[in-house]
Amino acid sequence: MNINLTLIGQAISFAIFVWFCMKFVWPPIIAALEERTKKIADGLEAANRASRDLELAQEEANKTLRDSKEQAAEIIEQANKRANQMIDEAKEQVIADGKRLREAAQAEIEQDVMRAKEALRAQVSVLAYAGAEKILGATIDEKAHSEIVEQLAKEL
């Protein structure tokens, strides 16, 4: 067991191996490991974020759905109300129209009656004149008695 040059040779080769390891082996592997660690951490974070986003989106979707349902219900209610209103309006319209038509018809009838009465009255006065002429045998001064006759006719 002698100490000899091997010791120095061993020390030199040791130094060379350490240098090589430090230069060409350690950095790429450690860099890859760190990068992978970072990548995994990023991936996990992204997954977390995605699940949070999903939750939010679901909530949003639910809210929208609820809102739309409410809106739709409101619209239907309004439409119903509107329809009822329209029916009511139409009914009122019809009633009013009917009333107006009836009134118009009545007015016309009354007018006709009046006209007939006038005509009748005129004829009555003529008849009365003729009758009176015949009865009295004399001519009645038309002008003098027309007042009386007219009054009479008005009483008809």
């Binding site: 067991m1 000899n4 091997t6 350490v18 430090m22």
Partner: protein, 275 residues
Amino acid sequence: MASENPSASEYIKHHLQNLTFGQHPDGSWGIAESSKEAADMGFWAIHLDTMGFSIGLGILFLWLFRIAAKKATAETPSGLLNFVEMMVEFVDKSVKESFHGKSKVIAPLALTIFVWIFLMNLMDLIPVDFVPRIAHDVFGLNYFKIVPTTDLNATLGMSLSVFALIIFYSISIKGFGGFIKELTLQPFNTPIMIPFNFVLEMVGLLAKPVSLALRLFGNLYAGELIFILIAILPWAAQWALSVPWAIFHILVITLQAFIFMMLTIVYLSMAHEEH
């Protein structure tokens, strides 16, 4: 094999001898043919088997991890990349738990230490006679020790490098004055106690690389020795003992690699901390 029928002690000694290349006392260069020749070569000799296997395993480690590093993306990993990322994450976590300073060197250093030492220790699980037999029969090499961490040179080489880093960081973080202060004014902060403090702290400082190297070396050397001892026994006993010991040894080699790595991190974080 040195002789056809070696005795037990020859066999053990034979297995504990590295393949040494250096200058013989007579001035010629060559491979040592015996332990004595290897010892006579002195400091300027080199263990070819230790160097060859440690560099080969280091290159294997870097080659595998480099392939993975090139493929590394933030996408789903697969196959080799999975394994490499597991190792890197394990080391990165260990470093972050005990080292709080900022340094680009420490994590790759820890990874290199862990994987490289593990691979070198793993050679212990190859049957003791397997590679030496091939080395002898095919290449004609007399000695061949395939576990670099059972060679004190290898473990000391690494621990002294770590020690150099400890000194470097101590001085660069605390300044030279701060480092000297740490060595002399602890644990008793009075001028009278400076020599005592200095001795105490120096022992503590020097014990770090020595204990680091000896712990790894001792564990693996002992493990190797037991494999060799088992290999001397009759073949039936070899089976009965070698398998449990190998299984137990899987734990030891992983643990020793881990301990070397953790202690390196701890020592360097201590060097980074100001008192």
